[in-house]
């Protein structure tokens, strides 16, 4: 199974690579659209931290937006976006201005709490998740602790939400749309629960790859 790990100039790709290695696969780091297309990956993992506008800019500069669209949207290769790697799936992203997202999920990325609110941001630390229905790819992980570090969140219609967390108010912790999956938290830094999630993602990707 070929696992593509997308590196586009921001974020700690090594942490995710290490976590995938612990889960029993050796990811291949791809740095632009051509590398991604040439790999013929069985699944794609895209990390990301920092500002979503910057992330989108870098994805487009490297031709990754087009290559990802062809691979994971048109061909349905399983995709896992982590933190900003999830947020870029939205239609619009408001962080230091408004940016056009990849538009795979009809949603917006907004600040977790308005300016001047008493909530401290970034939201940093371990928080529990609540599953919607069976939680889809998060099944069995209801109430588990995951490590979050972010100030912005995705807002989208209920049908795409598979888990929420609470910080002042409930917010979207994970989304799923067919084989497009996204988590706001960091499974690579979420100890045992994070390892379970990555294994589940890889298990789901395996029969599709075979």
């Amino acid at each position: 199974m070929r696992v593509a790990l997308v590196e586009y100039g921001i974020g700690n790709v090594l942490s995710v690579a290490n976590a995938l290695t612990r889960a029993g696969v050796t990811p291949v780091v791809v740095r632009d659209g051509d590398e991604l297309t040439a790999l013929d990956a069985s699944c794609v993992v895209m990390p990301g931290v920092g500002a979503v506008g910057e992330a989108l800019l870098l994805l487009r500069q490297r031709g990754l937006d087009v290559a990802l669209q062809a691979l994971v949207v048109d061909r349905g290769v399983p995709f896992l976006g982590i933190c900003v790697g999830m947020q870029v799936m939205a239609e619009t992203c408001e962080e230091f201005g408004e940016h056009r997202g990849l538009g795979w999920i009809p949603g917006r990325v907004r600040r977790l709490a308005p300016e001047g609110s008493s909530l401290r941001l970034p939201h940093v630390g371990w928080n529990t998740i609540s599953l919607r229905d069976d939680g889809d790819f998060l099944t069995g992980l209801d109430g588990e602790h995951f490590y979050f570090v972010h100030s912005f969140v995705m807002e989208c219609p209920d049908e795409y939400v598979v888990a929420t967390a609470n910080y002042g108010h409930p917010f979207v912790a994970a989304v799923c749309h067919g084989r497009l999956m996204g988590v706001q938290f960091h499974p690579e830094k979420s100890s045992q629960a994070g390892a379970v999630l990555l294994s589940e993602f890889l298990t789901r990707a395996a029969p599709i790859a075979a």
Partner: protein, 270 residues
Amino acid sequence: MLKRRLVPVLYLLDGWMVRSQEFQEHQYIGDPVLHVERMIDWDVDELIVLDIGRGEMTFEHHRQDYRHKPVLTLFDFIQRIAVECRIPLTFGGRIRTIEDIRTRIQNGADKVSVNTILADSPQTVTQAARMFGSQAIVASVDFRRVEGTSRVYLRHGREDSGVVPAKWARRAQDLGAGEILLNAIDRDGIAQGYDLEEIRKVVDAVTIPVIACGGAGHQKHFQQCLNDTDANAVAAGNIFHFTENAYPRAKKFLTQARSDIRPLTENRPA
């Protein structure tokens, strides 16, 4: 519910793990990789490693009898621990440039803790926050009480900045830092409890999370700090080295006392 973190801080000096007292005395306590592995086995909420060396960066131990490859440089060390580190890892010390930050993050650190550049090169802090995100930049603020007032000290606690911690922390936030690591120099290694008054002042002055450090000698000190301040995390060094199973025991104690603590992971497979 967001849980409040219990965070071990490990001090690295010339490639060795050390115990620190008042930033002055350092006692060598062994191979840093083994200490980090113990923390990962304890499934700590987060780990902070501070390289407190001042001169040329050296890794002076060259034992060949380790069960792992010898670690010869700081980057070997970060890479080595990052492989197993399934929890967030912050690395601090000797950070002067964007390149210093990039190399630590590229080798596996999730965040860096910066201190001296808050004074010497504030624009670097802002640039780093833009490049790596605020969440990756922890502002380390060391303070001492002098004649009744607290002041931030720079350069390993040797130089008085003349500024109070609350003001310094607010400035760090404005520069782009995403968290404050507040350390009471006078209380380092003294085990008499946290400086609750100063922690409250800093927490009130900023809107980013604060990690309180310095003074924990007993698990009740963690509880006191969590009860009496709004610090998002409590951190400590020595207590986790010199008391048997100190971290799991502190976690159990705090979990019983409070609802906002992440419990120990039970039956974690090896």
